[in-house]
Symmetry: C2
Subunit: 133 residues, 2 copies
DNA sequence: GTATTAAAGATATTAAGAGTCTTTAATACC
DNA sequence: GGTATTAAAGACTCTTAATATCTTTAATAC
């Protein structure tokens, strides 16, 4: 059980976009080159982020992607939801109601999600920025 | 991303074995029938649990599986490790050292694992037993 | 109109999970 | 020792999801 590579790429791209000057779009070629990915592949991931409202896309010449207005509210969990979908880590197909085992697993998952929801990407971006200097 | 079915079956089987009278072995046929699984499939899962030291197997006539002596120390995490392996939920292949994103993900994972380590199967077994009565 | 760029669709490849079948080894019982 | 029983191990199949590429379409700037 592992988060997909797409989630990793998405998180790094999000942080990168957060560090761009206001209202400047970055094309998929540049973003893909940065992470050594093919543009078409990263494009799939970026479309998911766009549909989730985490970034905004403008097609056409001089187009590209930029971070959404919600920049300061975007959490790790938001990105994970966008790329992984909103599925449960654990599903007890045997006992449909009130499975004791499932209750424990679900609680652990909820706590992890709560933590990932409390971690904002903007803080990572700021930390990365100050490290570079 | 989801825990495998094997983990679910393993957890249920463990609880069942915990509720057996002391030193009585249960065969894979019985365990499989209970969960509507084929014996050969469940056997694969049971072998993992055996190798992890969570249950003990005796081959041959009148053989089968029984819970290990560590009965009162076995946690959810122990079973998950046995079936899922000991891999990380998240791996940042880009920045090998001190990736800020990876740090956050790893911390969340560690916290979840700590919680699953604190939850003992024996308590679930006892609760299930008292519910049946 | 032309160049540029995101979105969408079709498709191919790979990896992992799920599951079966067969063979081998160990044990109990006669 | 022989037979029935049962776990372990290996080979193999099937299905699904992730990964990835290529092509076409639509939108935008100039």
């Amino acid at each position: 059980m592992r988060y997909s590579n797409a989630t990793n790429f998405a998180l790094h791209t999000m942080v990168h976009l957060m560090l761009q000057p206001r209202d400047s779009s970055v094309g998929v070629q540049e973003l893909a080159a940065m992470q050594h990915l093919s543009p078409t592949y990263l494009s799939k991931i970026l479309t998911k982020l766009t549909k989730a409202g985490l970034i905004e896309s403008t097609p056409g010449a001089k187009g590209g992607y930029k971070i959404s207005r919600k920049k300061h509210e975007i959490s790790f969990l938001d990105v994970i939801h966008a790329t992984e979908g909103d599925t449960s880590l654990f599903d007890c197909s045997i006992h449909h109601e009130g499975c004791l085992i499932e209750n424990v697993m679900r609680q652990a998952e909820e706590n992890m999600k709560a933590e990932l929801k409390s971690k904002l990407l903007i803080n990572i971006a700021k930390e990365a920025e100050s490290k570079q200097k």
